[in-house]
């Protein structure tokens, strides 16, 4: 009995030591004070909300203070879908957003990925792909101002997934979509504040 107690105590002590070591090792801070601080972290939802806020801020700044400013100044440099082949051209805000997603995809340290999806994509590859994505786009379309969170399993891996409405905020966005050759016959006429699609943030669990 005593022996079992000793083994149990030792196991507990070892477990506590391992937990403490992991906590210190993953805190990202080497100071003693930090080591004594109980381990804390953020939830996947908080993390997703945070990275989404950064993405949207960057895109808004690019759309407002780069693309729109160039247009207002009648600059010879313009945002163009075919910017790689066009003279004096820079990417559209949505392309800039997707290029960022590609770089994150290529970065094994990122720990998450994100994508633009829409039920009315100009690029067929941006249709919702999983049942979860379909449900999420439906939800954020029907519940203006709300996000959609949940978990899904893809390829044998579990993910926390957050879907955020992607709204028509700048006239240039919805007018370009409404005029685009790739729009299908049933394409909606987008106007200010319409939900044109969703931003999907996926974090492996």
């Amino acid at each position: 009995m005593k022996r079992k107690f000793l083994i149990g105590t030792f196991t507990l002590a070892l477990g506590a030591s391992v937990v403490a070591t992991i906590a210190v090792g993953t805190s990202g801070c080497g100071s003693t004070e930090a080591a004594l601080t109980p381990p804390t972290g953020i939830s996947p939802q908080k993390f997703a909300d945070g990275v989404h806020a950064v993405m949207m801020a960057d895109r808004t700044v690019y759309a407002t203070h780069v693309v729109t400013r160039l247009k207002k100044q009648s600059s010879p440099v313009t945002a163009d879908e075919y910017w790689e082949d066009a003279e004096n051209a820079i990417p559209l805000p949505a392309q800039m957003f997707r290029m960022g997603a590609t770089l994150v995809d290529e970065n094994p340290q990122a720990g998450f990925n994100y994508a633009l999806r829409s039920n009315w994509p100009l690029n067929e590859q941006n249709h919702p792909k999983s049942d979860f994505e379909k449900k999420a786009l439906e939800y954020i379309g029907e519940h203006p101002g709300e996000n959609f969170y949940g978990e899904e399993e893809l390829g044998g891996k579990k993910y926390f997934v957050a879907a955020y409405p992607d709204r028509a905020v700048a006239e240039a966005c919805w007018s370009c979509h409404n005029e685009h050759p790739n729009r299908g016959d049933g394409y909606p006429e987008f106007a200010k504040d319409d939900v044109m699609g969703g931003v999907i943030v996926r974090i492996p669990l």
Partner: protein, 462 residues
């Protein structure tokens, strides 16, 4: 008698064991030996046209346990894929939502579509999947592109329509923006080479050298005087002399120490100034053996027809830029034709392109308007601050539409270029005749944009 039979059996066993030991020893040595013909025994099947030059260097693609290394593809092909704006990069499929698609076709592994040593299922540019592979992900293409209705999926990747990786000259907007172009463009010039100009502008302290400035050491007994004299006469007429590059810069590892003189010049010495040229040479079929640490490529190894008297030539810089003249005009045509004896090469001198080249050499046409072998196969590539003559001779040959942007489009309209590249006869006769077929993709793209524009106009009508 019994003892005789026993001795006979023992002898047979001994022979059997010895033979097996020899075989095992041979195979064991083949496994660990450096790249050489002994490894031929280990080849599981004929290697593709793109890799056979280095097939005896197993470790170029395989680990020690002979497992395949995905990174070996990336190491050689990543840059060109990036340059082409790869439309299906592996990273595209990092999005977990593609997991189901990857289960069907693992597009993140090169070998899914490009297996090696399987000649019976290898198609052009090393594709080893059935040619209708697009079907797996694009079954519904006709929903958005009605013009594609009824087309079979094994026709997607035919010349002039689509490629898996490089669609830089095939995407819809590009096709439409080149609709209606004439067979010959008004201006028909390739980029002007700017190496000498750049090199000299970076070294303002260099001045043109004359024969009397040559620092080639004549031996004390004068035994090499004739050779030196000829070399100096040749050198004095080159860009090297004009750029202030003296003999010792190539022949001495230490230009201040004449004891380091060597009559032979290593490729590394060329690479001191011509880094991009040497590097790209190692990426093509001419130099890939050297880049893999093997002996130089020789025409006798080639699968294309070569002149028999060229069989044992070794492909280094000097093979095409011989002696001390380094004549790029010689390197642009004659150096190629000295070895290549296939139908395409043999037809060049009778082609319209060759006539233009001869006229340029004769001064009857402006510089950069002639078409040599090098014009098409060692194209001049624009980088951020230079025009590079790539020495990767296969740079724009896989897929063949790569030639459009780098070569054909300098002089010809897109329709004529696509039609020509799609005609296998023209490849054989070195584009000496007009194409006999018409690729429809430009018209299809144009009709698509026209139809969408009309729809847009109708929507705007009150």
């Amino acid at each position: 008698m019994t003892s005789f039979v026993y001795a006979g059996a023992r002898q047979k066993i001994t022979i059997f064991v010895v033979i097996n030991l020899l075989i095992a020893g041979y195979l064991g040595y083949a496994l660990v030996a450096p790249a050489s013909s002994i490894k031929t025994t280990l080849l599981p099947g004929t290697t593709t046209h793109g890799h056979y030059q280095i097939e005896l260097d197993c470790n170029a693609c395989h680990a020690r346990d002979m497992s395949f290394i995905q990174d070996s593809c990336v190491r050689c092909h990543a840059d060109e894929l990036k340059l082409a704006g790869d439309t299906h990069p592996a990273s595209k499929f990092n999005d977990p939502a593609n997991a189901e698609l990857l289960r069907v076709l693992d597009a993140q592994k090169c070998v899914t579509c490009h297996s090696e040593h399987v000649p019976e299922q290898t198609r052009p540019i090393g594709v080893t999947l059935p040619l209708d592979y697009c079907w797996h992900c694009h079954q519904d293409v006709a929903d958005n592109r009605p013009s594609h209705r009824g087309m079979t999926f094994d026709s997607c990747a035919t010349v002039g329509c689509h490629n898996y990786h490089d669609n830089s000259a095939l995407y819809e907007k590009f096709l439409d923006s080149h609709h209606g172009e004439s067979e010959r463009l008004e201006t028909r010039l390739v980029r002007t080479r700017d190496f000498s100009q750049r090199w000299r502008s970076q070294r303002p302290d260099r001045y043109p050298l004359l024969p009397e400035h040559a620092d080639n050491p004549v031996r004390a007994d004068n035994s090499n005087a004739d050779v030196v004299e000829r070399a100096v006469v040749d050198w004095a007429d080159t860009g090297h002399a004009a750029s202030g590059v003296n003999c010792s810069e190539c022949h001495q590892s230490d230009s201040n120490d004449s004891s380091t003189w060597s009559d032979q010049v290593e490729m590394a010495a060329c690479g001191n100034c011509h880094q991009a040229e040497v590097e790209t040479f190692g990426q093509g079929r001419h130099g890939m053996r050297l880049a893999a640490g093997m002996s130089p490529m020789q025409p006798k190894f080639a699968r294309l027809s070569m002149h028999s008297d060229a069989a044992h030539r070794e492909l280094t810089c000097n093979a095409c830029h011989p002696g001390h003249r380094f004549d790029t005009r010689y390197a642009a045509v004659q150096a190629c034709l000295n070895c290549h004896a296939d139908s395409h090469s043999s037809s060049y001198q009778g082609s319209g392109h060759a006539v233009l080249w001869q006229k340029e050499l004769a001064g009857e046409l402006p510089a950069d308007s002639g078409v040599s072998c090098a014009t098409c196969h060692l194209p001049r590539i624009e980088s951020s601050d230079a025009t590079l003559v790539t020495h990767h001779q296969n740079f724009n040959l896989r897929p063949i539409e790569k030639m459009i942007r780098s070569v054909c489009g300098n002089c010809h309209g897109l329709q004529f270029s696509l039609d020509s590249l799609a005609d296998p006869e023209l490849s054989l006769n070195c584009y000496s005749t007009a194409p006999s077929r018409t690729v429809e993709s430009i018209d299809m793209a144009h009709r698509w944009f026209e139809a969408q524009s009309q729809k847009r106009s109708r929507r705007k009508q009150p």
